[in-house]
Symmetry: C2
Subunit: 353 residues, 2 copies
């Protein structure tokens, strides 16, 4: 099979971790007889530096032409804590999501048995956790009208949702639940927000089309609690953009395996795969960042973008092996030898070959 993949390394540790995923993908392609056409493009601070735009049109063209996008991370400390910066790397992320129509961010949270003791939570709380948060990614307060009034002394942001946007996301959630433990939790703040009431009534209307799925409705504040108390009680969670931002990050740390969590963003024009960790600028260029989340994102890419399950399974099995044999970067090495980012990538590729 011929796979056209756009490669957006981004900022900070992005290029390093993406580099290892490329090695792994190439090894898999070699083994299974696929041909990969990689096309790289700039995003984030790197793109601001080069052309003054964190998501340049040229990059958008590359993504549109690709069957899937492999993405690193965006963000640079130069732009933090400056509420008045005219262009910020994150704007590139939002523009990319909107222009590619990446409406659904899929974030699994699961545990690796060998890493469970890294969790801030007690073992008995976290064991068996295997949930997916499906976050709406192109609507809500991220993309509503915003601005200032009264000479800048009043600021406002608008959260807007349409029934169709909710249906599109929820349908995916119901389908995922059908392929899993058939439990769906719709997270909102319907006791306060009108947009949440639209979410809740829309999902309620869809229940009849998926009679096997057990649906629950919970308020976002309650979920922020229960994710810490009993994460294993969730299967598939659907929620709007801002709540999803907060809850996916919260969920990512409870697993104890944050450096390993992949994600997919499903789009109208293409799909994008990225590790959930950020650009981690302190580690950039040091060859110490953990590449496993990006490698596992590449596994999702094979499975979700191309339906290539065997390829995905092979990648996951060599990642399991690297954990079992301790071929890991310093964040996971404990008192044992820490491997370099590039060494982990080489080792994984060699295992596949």
């Amino acid at each position: 099979m011929e796979l056209n993949i756009a490669l957006l390394p981004g900022d900070g540790i992005g290029p390093e971790v993406v580099g290892q995923a490329v090695k792994v993908v190439d090894a898999v392609a070699e083994k299974f007889g696929h041909k990969i056409n990689w096309t790289s493009a700039l995003t984030g601070a790197a793109a601001i530096d080069a052309v003054g735009d964190p998501y340049p049109d040229a990059t958008h063209e590359v993504c549109l032409a690709a069957d899937a996008v492999l993405f690193g991370a965006i963000g640079h400390p130069r732009y933090d804590n400056d509420p008045k910066a005219p262009v910020r790397p994150e704007q590139g992320l939002l523009k990319m999501r909107k222009k590619l129509g990446l409406f659904a961010n899929v974030r699994p949270t699961f545990t690796f048995p060998s890493l469970i003791d890294n969790s801030p939570l007690k073992r008995e709380r976290i064991e068996g956790t295997d949930l997916i948060i499906l976050r709406e990614l192109t609507g809500g307060i991220y993309f509503g009208e915003r601005g200032r009034k009264d000479n800048g002394d009043t600021a406002f942001d608008t959260c807007t949702y349409t029934r169709a946007e909710v249906q599109r996301l929820a349908k995916l959630g119901f389908e995922m639940a059908m392929n899993r433990r058939k439990k769906l939790c719709c997270v909102d703040k319907a006791n306060v927000l009108e947009s949440s009431r639209l979410w809740r009534e829309t999902v309620q209307d869809m229940e009849k089309d998926f009679p096997e799925v057990e649906v629950s409705y919970e308020f976002v504040d309650a979920v922020a609690m229960r994710l810490v108390q009993w994460p294993s009680s969730y299967d598939v969670i659907i929620t709007e953009n801002l709540f999803g931002d907060i809850l996916t990050d919260e969920a990512s740390v409870i697993s104890g395996s944050m450096g390993l969590m992949p994600s997919a963003s499903i789009g109208l024009h293409t799909s994008l795969f990225e590790p959930i960790h950020g650009s981690y600028p302190q580690a950039a260029g040091k060859d110490i960042a953990n590449p496993l989340a990006t490698v596992l994102s590449a596994a999702m890419l094979f499975e979700d973008a191309f339906g290539l399950k065997e390829e995905a399974a092979l990648i996951r099995s060599v990642v399991d092996k690297s954990l079992a044999e301790g071929v890991v970067t310093e964040d996971l090495a404990g008192k044992n030898k820490a491997y370099k980012t590039s060494e982990v990538g080489d080792w994984l590729a060699a295992q596949i070959g």
Copy 2:
């Protein structure tokens, strides 16, 4: 001293837990020679049933006339999962906050040594945690314009903040930090929201007035992570209404002492004190709910509303004693004897007398 206190028991377990706090307050008043004038009033589902309004004008008058309000909880399952219910108990809560000008919700999160092992977090993560979240309570998306368009198919909510609202809340935060460990964290989403950028720039402008306070700025998603990872790293957190709703609930469970956490809402016209737990309808009328959070809210009432520190300290010390001696309700009793709600209240009052 003569203390005029409005008593709003509310729904579910509200009346039971408030009842125990009243016993304790009366015992303290007796001991210190204060005179308490209690005036009760209806709120929540109870008030809807009686007069069709979850925060009736008569109740508002009672609160306005009082020096402080002791509140139980609001909420009834009859109104949950019904996005179309015309009147909901929570509307009473929001109306009360707005009409009493309760602009700042103060939520401490601390640990009781004897309860640390109840936390879902590992002991070494939670030990030493002593933080306050100061949540803005009368602005933001809770009170902005909202509605439907396109025959109900589009819903919107507006988040609005003014510089003055941010200053009022932040000033309190700086002052609290000065009385504590001098660390203030402003939590926002300034990489996306205009209202957050107003928050951040306003707080930045105030830094010079409190040169001793070390101020940090973090995004809400990062804080949702770090609260689980290293809660003891925070001192005072200030944030807007919706972020505060989510983060205070998340913080409450990590301490392992959720059933014990009190809160204060500081207002323009009066102040209100309430346990952070909800109305817990499953337990209503069974005399099993834990009254300690409400009793500790009464301690905050003595200290914050009337400056009566000794009275507050005495209440806290008898609560400590009840924990040490195991005079606790079933949620905390473990394998030992569980006391009834009313028995715990009687015991505490007797200890004070």
